[in-house]
Symmetry: C2
């Protein structure tokens, strides 16, 4: 484990003022190993999406401390990872032409930074910028496999038009798709089907381009659910996933992980009781958890999160059911008894959506749940996050 | 206007990479003046809650550049405001005893930092810490006026017990209540009623304590809706409100402000189109807007926000209806035609909840909509936010 920022004194989770975010490095590594093995079996390169943790320290766990291919969601991440020696980066948000100068600056530093686009007008901007800068800007065509967000349908005329424009400027790298709708399917069969569809669509788009005489190096697919569900990625060159390093209640709710796999939590303190309403009040509100209610439409709505003790053991039936800026409300559900938790009791909240909850914090207090302790879990390190755009 | 951090070159909203947050200082000052006048009329001290903007620069607008009484939601805010010369601060979240050393450190610096509590056990912790430190910790008893969150009912035996414990340690400052449920009432009559109830409850609690021989200096009430609706605050000493400096779609939805009063927005760029679905895709997702969907249960659900052009003029019928981490989806509603907005077009999104959206950003690009421009609005300054706990 990278401990480049050790706590100034030997701290435990009982020490820092709450709320603060905790990463369990043991569970993180287990999650990382699971998908790395899967990618090995499938014979594809794994290109983790670092948008969830946004941490060089977490990223160092991905590949034994050495830089690996990564996906980023902002140029701020790309720049921070480039500074740390990462040279193989895909910026997986449709490119805004205004941002191309920063892309070109990274390319000039020797970083292979791929951009994404899904229109002829973006292809023209990229081609023009590449010609003007005298440098190839590797670009991927975003393919829509499930109507989730952006991307071109495989039969869209713009696919070949944009491909030709990029290829003429020596910028065509390949195709990329993301099965974003897989977050809403909850059976293994549906997830396998989503993974198959994601693969089939990406490969079909690549074939379409190749048939038109256009070169396709990269065929990139992925989402956390489909990456874990895929059983055949023939024709695909790389797999992307981000959330899986931490997982969360949304992923547990669709069966991609167990609740025990959740590696991110937020430590909060009980600051009050309203027995007449059945409420326990904590100092962890939406500022600490985010406003994400990703489980609201799942079969089990987990409110703003489930509650564990400081050691990480679930407190049965207790849920964070409401949030204001700096207050959380815990309630008992399904006839559970509200536990006796005096003012000052520290708890941990498991989040709906790790990407959103992590983004509310500057960094992580790192624990290792594989190390037995008699006191509260010890803080092994403090890891910073990259923020902004 | 405070311009302590001028942009390095003469910038407009067309210049920085998107997304970024914008504050219109003209509208902010108008909102500030409106409530300041109201507090003057009512004859109470205004103690603005700085948790929305979390900015010393915005706070400097509150009282002509000089420190005024403020309310904070975190000790990080209290410390930053103390560093800037503010000496009259109320920390309006129920006190966690673990945080008392930081409270005492601020008191020793000469800052009158009031804490809040609603239980006998917290009163005992505060009294014990005050005795041990040899310093009075001014404490307010939180009163529940509407079943919103924390607080003691005026008839709770713990009110007098906690009051006595505090008074015995020379720590009893007064009472505080917050009509949080007023965010959910949408007529002027209901808001006036909520304001009356808030006042009546706070005054009743103060009377109860005084009748028991306990001194009450501060009788503090407030929320943005009730602060604007109150017509009689007899017996109240101070009024709190936070959101009103920026306002937002939730406040506009219940009629506390007009949409034209919204002083915070987020600049985004169009990065794609899905005409087959009626979508315009931008680079502003929930990371830029937050996951707050505060208007979801109002009579007009505003999605993740309404859309204006770069000058701030509403684009009729266009709404940000969906968000992923770095993508926003704009759609037309009520039969409106989707406007023709090419890739690269910059727009501004007006948020549901200013507190939550502002928290997604390091700071604000400041514009002044009272200055006419021929180009995009000029950036007058960049103001930083306080973050963390």
């Amino acid at each position: 484990m990278n401990t480049d920022t050790p706590p100034s004194t030997a701290q435990t989770l009982a020490d820092p003022d709450t709320p603060f975010a905790v990463v369990d490095v043991h569970k993180t590594l287990r999650n990382i190993d699971r998908l790395a093995s899967k990618a090995d079996q499938l014979g594809v390169t794994l290109r983790p999406h670092v948008k969830t943790a946004k941490s060089l320290d977490v990223a160092a766990l991905l590949h034994h401390g050495t830089p690996c291919p990564v996906t980023v969601s902002t140029l701020a991440e790309a720049e921070a990872f480039a500074d740390a020696g990462y040279t193989d980066i895909t910026y997986a948000v449709g490119i805004d032409p205004h941002k191309l100068p920063r892309v070109i600056a990274l390319l000039r530093r020797g970083v292979t930074l791929r951009v994404l686009l899904d229109s002829q007008e973006q292809a023209e901007s990229v081609a023009a910028a590449a010609r003007q800068a005298g440098i190839a800007i590797p670009a991927q065509l975003e393919i829509d496999c499930d109507g989730h967000r952006g991307g071109l349908k495989t039969n869209a005329p713009a696919l070949l038009e944009a491909g030709r424009i990029l290829n003429d400027a020596d910028c065509l790298d390949g195709v990329l798709t993301h099965a974003g709708e897989s977050y809403y399917v909850s059976t293994p069969d549906e997830q396998r089907l989503a993974a198959k569809n994601e693969r089939d669509t990406a490969v079909a788009a690549a074939d379409k381009l190749r048939t038109a005489g256009l070169p396709v190096s990269t065929v990139s697919v992925g989402s956390t659910p489909t990456a874990h569900a895929a059983d055949d990625l023939t024709g695909v060159t790389e797999l992307r996933a981000g959330n899986y390093v931490f997982f969360d209640l949304v992923m547990a709710g669709i069966g991609v992980c167990r609740i025990d796999d959740l590696a991110l939590s937020v430590v909060v303190t009980v600051i009050g009781h309203r027995p007449e309403y059945g409420w326990i009040i904590t100092d962890g509100g939406w500022m600490a958890m985010s406003r994400d209610r990703g489980t609201a439409n799942q079969s089990q709505d987990q409110g703003y999160g489930l509650v564990t003790d400081l050691d990480g053991h679930l407190i049965p039936g207790l849920v964070m059911s409401a949030a204001s800026q700096e207050h959380g409300t815990l309630t008992a559900r399904d006839g559970a008894t509200l536990p006796d938790l005096p003012v000052g009791t520290r708890l941990r909240i498991l989040p709906n959506h790790a990407c959103a909850t992590a983004a509310q914090h500057h960094g992580y207090h790192v624990i290792d749940s594989s190390r037995p302790t008699t006191a509260a879990p010890g803080v092994q390190a403090i890891w910073n996050r990259i923020s902004g755009w």
